[in-house]
Assembly symmetry: C2
């Protein structure tokens, strides 16, 4: 049995305290890159193929992503789990900080997304990654 | 002139996307460890001295910490800047995620701190690190 970490911030940092992990999640969540090739070639930071493979494996092992079974000759698509979707508030908090403090910016700005908008974005990710019903029910999508 | 990063999440990840950086900030913010020795010996993860020195230098260079000038024979104290204080919402978002998804936990829990409590905690950090007046004005502290 895996030991339960002493404090929740530390537990999260063990999974998410890594530059490439966060950038891969950013690309899956905000750029809808769901395939290895799309993540590799679309990465603005030019992620190396072995680093991408390692971070995807870590995200699968930690239960933030699942990999669909691919039909013969097709590539496997990555889906976010609920734990993966719920990293969105962390990425938004990082974005708000970056907005306010990156070099060249003028200071405090409006948040990227308020709490209600974050909930909307997560609901949308649940539709696209978990097959949840769109808000409005059957027939809406 | 430093180039302005393309997107704010990426800009934040460049500074904060590192396990030890986040753990040092956690210790300064939540455990009030303000001295090199306290950060070294108090670290539950057993941070190595060279790693701690490197991450403190990065935090100073990135403008998240300042180091007070120490009198002869005294140690220098680290203070958070406003940019350092404003990492609190990121740490709280990480904590909320860790709370909900670390192994052994039962699922979704109350947030570590809601928006109003986060503002209070940041106001308290401004008093202790930036010498701001406590709420209530002169004579309150």
């Amino acid at each position: 049995m895996e030991p339960r970490s002493a404090d929740p911030i530390t537990a999260a940092v063990e999974v998410l305290g890594d530059r490439w992990t966060l950038l891969v999640l950013r690309d899956v969540i905000f750029a809808d890159r769901r395939y290895f090739r799309a993540l590799l070639t679309g990465s603005p930071e030019g992620i190396a193929s072995n680093i991408l493979a390692d971070r995807l494996k870590r995200l699968l092992d930690a239960g933030l992503l699942t990999r669909g079974t691919a039909a013969r000759g097709q590539r496997a698509r990555f889906d976010l789990t609920e734990a993966g979707i719920r990293t969105l508030p962390i990425l938004c908090a990082l974005g708000d900080w970056g907005h306010d403090f990156r070099p060249g910016d003028a200071g405090e700005q409006e948040p990227i997304a308020g709490p209600a908008r974050i909930e909307e974005l997560m609901a949308d990710l649940r539709v696209r990654h978990l097959g949840a019903e769109p808000f409005g029910g059957a027939g809406a999508g």
